[in-house]
Symmetry: C2
Subunit: 162 residues, 2 copies
């Protein structure tokens, strides 16, 4: 493995670790617990599940992989706070969507070379990218990994203490 | 900037963003609010401040930078849950320690070449490292960035809603 490949390998392991932890948390959760809040008056677990699916789905066009699979998630889980817009999606459906979206991302991730990772993401113009080459796909990978970790730190608060 | 340097640059920006956010949260917090819990019966803000200082202080020997600056933090903020061991350190002292430790890390980080980042960390043996070259300093940087993000997601729950 070259040095460049090692940097990518380490970051993909961090992404995968956090994906497994987040998806695993919801996989093991009894359906009725999805209505629980992470803290009094804060987001419910089901909202953060839908939020993660929406944010990861937005990564598909942002990283130039393709078109979104579930743009309908945004109105409920990104543009609006919890409980303000009704969702017709069940918890089971949201879990499936998250796994589907994460799978689509991983399919691309597993094929990209280090140069692919250093290519610009689609929210930065070619002109800006010349001046700011750090605004690449790799930076999206790291920022979405920390985004996931920040919500993972929250969802575990909704479960009984060990 | 070479490709290898770009991977490091992106990861250091992610680290720094999270450091600024975490330190900034505590810098702006009135002293009396440090006794607040992130959720009922969970860690207090002051505990997570000390915990972060301890975990980052442990990175100094883990990354081969030098000896620990504040090993006394571990008993209260790593080995024990919140409220089980009394600490003689004030919130102001803990804030200073965190900034001191983060500064010591950054001094090393700013000087390292990509090859330095791919060197093994001290918790892995030379033999293991031959088989598992991803257990390097870069992996410590990423995992401690997500660690910080997970607690950042928690501490913001203790403040009034916007």
């Amino acid at each position: 493995m070259t040095a460049e490949e090692l940097f990518v390998d380490v970051a993909l392991r961090a992404w995968k670790t956090n994906i497994d932890r987040f998806e695993g948390f919801y996989r093991d959760l009894p359906e009725e617990q999805l209505e629980q809040e992470i803290a009094p008056g804060r987001n419910r677990l089901i909202y953060l599940l839908g939020h993660m699916a929406a944010v990861h789905d937005r990564m598909i066009p942002l990283l130039g992989i393709g078109s979104r699979l579930h743009p309908e998630l945004d109105e409920v889980f990104i543009s609006s706070p919890d409980r303000s817009v009704a969702s017709s999606l069940s918890a089971a459906a949201l879990k499936e969507i998250l796994v589907e979206v994460d799978g689509a991302l991983w399919k691309a991730f597993a094929q990209w070379s280090p140069a692919d990772w250093l290519a610009r993401h689609t929210a930065v113009s070619e002109e800006e990218f010349v001046r700011e080459p750090h605004r690449n796909r790799f930076s999206v990978l790291l920022s979405r990994t920390t985004h996931m970790a920040s919500h993972q730190g929250q969802v575990i608060l909704a479960t009984p203490r060990a």
